[in-house]
């Protein structure tokens, strides 16, 4: 007998809002982190003046000040652009960037008035492929921005950026397939619970240990997919005068970065969930903790205690990975365009294919004998 339960509906809406809130907050915080990080590398201070009243707060007020400044800057639509698409172009990255956050696995599940509430806003049968689908739609924001600005630089920048994002998507798709047949499912949550076991006595059973090559290929493609340095040739000052963003002004310009950072955050969550055991502590799996907490507190409350713990573990791992993103940004120089396309098509694609075949044979031997 099928019954529409309102607790499920409310919990899905709450999880969705949590995803949007975290996704939208990544852009301002990351802009502050990047400027501080860049400053520390170059032995200077970076933003530490802006704060509230007389508290300096390490300059954490800087992103808020930037946001307000961007709102008040003159935002005009140049006459020679295609108006409809010029205004619509920033909507695409924002919509896809925020929509991707529904697929983040925050935890396994929680019991609310004896119904199992799954801690993932959208638990589709096709699992994390939803993230690939929405990230493949993000190409149109770049192409539209480039074309609608009706300017040589931005058209070429837009085409180059979308050609780059398109060609790295193939390697991204192929590099994850070994993980799917190692764990046997497309669903992130079952993958994470499998990664919480112990491998050969002392190692955590992480995807990174099972398929290291696909980890490295996947990390490189994430850099290219979100136009991060060393792959951000399309927006680079030296090459094409800020590429497809040449004609964009204040708030519209920052909307592109809101979408890009939110997509980068979700890609980092995906890497952590696939390769480093998502919301599970390496040796203290949630299953083991439940057994300890259960006698004292009872199963329902125990799961409520594990929920914040899982989110904190997931966010610390993601913050570490994003720190590496920012560190790479300020250490590795930018690729030339033909090197970039050669890396995507001629180096990453064969590595991903060969890695897939070898892992298939090895897993078949392990699983079937």
């Amino acid at each position: 007998m099928i019954e529409i339960s309102f607790t499920q509906i409310i919990s899905t809406i709450l999880l969705m809002l949590l995803g949007i809130a975290v996704g939208a907050q990544v852009a301002p915080i990351m802009s502050w982190v990047e400027r501080r990080q860049c400053a520390i590398i170059q032995r200077r201070l970076g933003p530490n003046r802006v704060g509230f009243f007389q508290f300096r707060l390490l300059g954490l007020g800087q992103p808020i000040a930037d946001a307000i400044k961007l709102l008040f800057k003159e935002d005009f639509v140049p006459p020679y652009v295609h108006k409809a698409f010029y205004v619509l172009a920033p909507v695409v990255p924002v919509a896809t960037g925020l929509a991707v956050t529904v697929a983040i696995p925050w935890g396994s599940h929680v019991v609310v008035n004896n119904q199992i509430i799954n801690l993932q806003a959208v638990n589709l049968n096709s699992g994390f492929l939803l993230i690939f689908a929405l990230s493949s739609l993000a190409v149109y924001g770049v192409t539209l921005a480039g074309w609608s600005s009706n300017n040589k630089y931005s058209l070429l920048g837009g085409l180059r950026a979308s050609a780059q994002m398109v060609s790295y998507e193939v390697a991204m798709g192929l590099s994850i397939i070994p993980l799917v047949f190692i764990w046997g499912t497309l669903d992130l949550q079952t993958m994470i619970t499998k990664q919480s076991e112990i491998l050969w006595g002392f190692l955590p059973n992480w995807g990174f240990i099972h398929a290291p090559i696909s980890f490295f290929v996947f990390i490189v493609t994430i850099f290219a997919e979100t136009n991060r340095l060393p792959f951000d040739l399309a927006e680079s000052e030296g090459e094409l005068v800020a590429g497809f963003l040449t004609e964009y002004g204040a708030m519209r310009w920052s909307l592109f970065f809101l979408g890009e950072y939110s997509m980068m955050f979700v890609m980092c969550v995906l890497t952590v969930s696939l390769f480093f055991g998502g919301y599970e502590l390496p040796w203290l799996s949630q299953h083991y903790l439940l057994e300890i907490l259960n006698p004292q507190v009872g199963e329902v409350l125990a799961r409520w205690i594990l929920l914040p713990l899982g989110i904190i573990v997931l966010l610390t791992k993601v913050i570490l990975l994003m720190w590496i993103f920012v560190q790479v940004r300020f250490t590795i120089p930018r690729f030339r365009y033909d090197q970039l396309m050669k890396l995507g098509w001629i180096y990453l694609l064969p590595i991903a294919l060969i890695n897939l075949i070898i892992t298939a044979i090895v897993t078949a031997i392990v699983k079937f004998h």
């Binding site: 295609h82 409809a84 638990n123 096709s126 492929l129 493949s136 739609l137 798709g173 497309l186 669903d187």
Partner: protein, 184 residues
């Protein structure tokens, strides 16, 4: 009940947008409308229980094929086409009428009866009815289990088809470059 209403809305929107797409002047506008139509159709697949086809539709159609259309439209910078609905010849009229009648026959109850009666449902694992939550029915596993056993030859032929398409696209594109050199 909600799924029926949302399916109805998605369907009506898809038909309306594709009708709008045909009557546009600018090619880029109609390409963007087609992307929205494809995403709506992906939503309809999801409601019908075909979850992996919904995602595959977005990745392949909306995310790959339309990129080539948008690239070609932007590269060629096609002028907007004035809508000269030229004179419709008798042949066209008859063809439309015929097409309309055949489509209507298929759509009506008789057509569906014809459709179902000779469909041999010997598939290995039956899909659950769509109103079960997605994670319950193993849609992706059923589809691939059936595809790689019953439809094995079709799958192998698809790889030859793609090989032919790769070779063909490169040969045609290279020829386009050569003719460019001559005319330049």
């Amino acid at each position: 009940m909600i799924t029926q209403i949302s399916f109805l809305i998605m369907g009506v929107m898809a038909v309306f947008l594709s009708a709008l797409m045909i009557t546009r002047k600018w090619p880029v506008t109609s390409a963007m409308l087609l992307i929205v139509v494809m995403m709506l159709i992906a939503g309809m697949y999801g409601l019908l229980g075909a979850h992996f086809s919904a995602v595959a539709q977005i990745i392949v159609y909306a995310g790959a094929i339309m990129v080539v259309f948008v690239f070609v439209i932007m590269l060629l910078n096609l002028p907007p086409e004035e809508l000269r609905y030229g004179r419709i010849t008798i042949g066209e009229l008859l063809l439309t009428a015929l097409g309309f009648i055949v489509a209507l026959f298929l759509g009506t109850k008789v057509g569906q009866g014809y459709l179902i009666s000779n469909l041999n449902s010997n598939s290995l694992i039956n899909a659950r009815p769509p109103y079960y939550p997605a994670s319950m029915n193993e849609n992706v596993k059923n589809v691939s289990a059936l595809m790689f056993t019953d439809y094995l030859w079709a799958f192998e032929l698809i790889s030859f088809l793609i090989l032919v398409a790769i070779v063909g696209a490169i040969v045609i594109a290279k020829k386009a470059k050569v003719s460019d050199a001559k005319s330049a």
